[in-house]
């Protein structure tokens, strides 16, 4: 699923954010990614959803080297990923329903064709009643739940979640975690960045720790 060999990564000519990173995540695994704020968790995830390129080493996602993509193959690979962005990245001019439906439309689906799937998911994250509202009328935690629904709506092979429970109360965090655990049980690979020790203990997943200086300890 994910193979990183001796990866080094920096923003432009800046300092290395990741250094000598080795990481192997197999199909169906569940991993938590922890590390101090600014340690590079989001950066690692960006590498994995093909928004950044390593300047050193080799990175493979779903069996393909991240450096060898064309715009088409990159889009194809991204449709097999479900990404929860730390800053949500919802589209303010689309309704909650349309935001969640967007990856299905991007994959060539007709608008309105997967209405039931979308509604079920919105129900799970507790936002069924808000389906016709727009994102800027939601709280941070509510937006986060929309972002999660959008990430999983296509039943992706690999979920990359960047602190997906960072803005919700413990009860909701537990409920959302159940969603990820359930998807993982059905075979989805999950990489879950979080600071929440309780959540990690509750789930029994393995932890990858990003240390200052950009090295991993597993």
């Amino acid at each position: 699923m994910i193979e990183l060999e001796n990866v080094g990564l920096a923003y432009g000519n800046g300092p290395d954010i990741l250094q000598n990173v080795y990481l192997h995540i197999g199909r169906g695994d569940l991993r938590f990614l922890t590390g101090a704020s600014g340690s590079g968790k989001s950066t690692l995830l960006r590498l994995l959803f093909l928004a950044l390129q390593p300047h050193q080493g080799m990175a493979r996602v779903l069996g393909k080297d991240v450096a060898s993509h064309t715009p088409q193959s990159r889009a194809r690979l991204r449709r097999k990923l479900g990404v929860v962005f730390q800053d949500f990245r919802l589209l303010d001019h689309l309704t909650i329903f349309e935001n969640v439906e967007l990856p299905l439309r991007a994959a060539g689906g007709e608008p309105g064709k997967h209405t039931n799937d979308v509604n079920d998911l919105l129900d799970w994250v507790g936002l069924k009643e808000r389906a016709r509202d727009f994102p800027n009328t939601l709280s941070g935690g509510e937006k986060q739940r929309v972002a999660i629904a959008r990430a999983v709506v296509t039943k992706p092979e690999l979920i990359l979640a960047d602190e997906p429970t960072g803005n919700v109360d413990p009860a909701m965090a537990k409920r959302l975690l159940r969603l990820f655990l359930e998807l993982n049980r059905l075979g989805t690979t999950v990489l879950f960045a979080t600071h929440d020790k309780h959540l990690i203990e509750r789930s029994g997943g393995q932890v990858i720790h990003l240390m200052p200086g950009g090295r991993l300890s597993q």
Partner: protein
């Protein structure tokens, strides 16, 4: 809720309206100018051809009025010679008053009676088998006094030269309008892209292919191009109609557009030429904006 989103999904690029509105307006003006250029081009082409056509099956022989020569006798001689030439369908002398009438508008009534007015013979020519004019001229000048032959060839050449240069000018104008439209659309497309950068980025992140993203764009530029083209086309059509009916061209004067419309399907060609305007405008709007966006997506990755 479900039916609403089914029937009317929100456009994926929302921040384009202002850019597209100004594009629609400027492009409509471009299309209007293009429409006028197309009609002018067709009119020039047609007039030149219609006139040349008229000239090519006619020739004129002129007999100078000479004081010590019997005019009628020379005229009969010339007529006989002309009629016996191969390729001449008919020849007729205009009588004296007809020649005078031709000059009347310049000289005034009555004045012409005392003037030495040349006599004219109008020759109808078989277009497909025209006479040997050099031979005819040589024979005539040898046997008839004060004769000269006007085959209108010089006029034809000048007409066709003028026609060619005017057609060239109109084509140049059309090419420049096209170029300006291309620049305009590309500029607008870049504005739309800049206004929707964040949205385009999210689309890319959720796995939308460049084709999908540019399709969102196509729809808006398609309607804009078509709208501008149709408005421009009808405006130029209205202008032509106003010039035709309001400009005194209906009275059978030299520029008889009415008659021209019946010559070689001129009307149909004007309609076809004008219909090309919205077609081309739509094509330019869609293709140039698509290329601009695809270029942007490529550069981004």
């Amino acid at each position: 809720m479900t039916t609403a989103s089914k029937l009317n999904p929100s456009p994926i690029f929302p921040n384009a309206a202002a850019h597209l509105r100004s594009l629609a307006m400027t492009m409509a003006v471009m299309c209007y100018l293009a429409g006028l250029a197309v009609v002018s081009l067709l009119i020039v082409q047609h007039t030149a051809r219609a006139w040349a056509e008229g000239l090519s099956h006619e020739a004129t022989v002129q007999l100078q009025h000479l004081s010590n020569v019997d005019e009628e006798q020379e005229l009969t001689k010339a007529l006989a010679l002309i009629k016996s030439t191969r390729g001449v369908i008919s020849a007729a002398a205009l009588d004296k008053s007809a020649g005078a009438k031709l000059l009347e508008p310049w000289l005034g009534k009555g004045v012409t009676d005392d003037l030495p007015i040349p006599r004219l013979i109008r020759i109808a020519i078989d277009e497909h088998n025209p006479p040997d004019f050099a031979q005819l001229e040589a024979t005539l000048t040898a046997k008839v006094k004060g004769v000269s032959l006007d085959t209108h060839r010089r006029w034809q050449a000048q007409l066709s030269r003028m026609g060619t240069s005017l057609v060239f000018l109109a084509s140049l104008i059309l090419a420049l309008i096209t170029l300006a439209s291309v620049i305009l659309v590309s500029y607008t497309a870049r504005g739309v892209i800049a206004a929707n950068t964040a949205i385009i980025e999210v689309l890319e992140l959720v796995g939308a292919e460049p084709r999908f993203i540019s399709r969102q764009n196509d729809k808006q530029f398609f309607t804009t191009g078509l709208f501008a083209g149709v408005i421009g086309m009808f405006a130029s059509l209205l202008t032509c109609a106003a010039v035709y009916y309001g400009g005194g061209f209906t009275d059978g004067s030299a520029m008889d557009l009415g008659a021209m419309f019946n010559f070689e399907n001129f009307g149909e060609r004007v309609i076809a030429g004008l219909a090309l305007v919205p077609l081309l405008a739509t094509l330019i709007a869609v293709w140039v904006s698509r290329l601009t966006l695809l270029q942007h997506l490529k550069k981004n990755s």
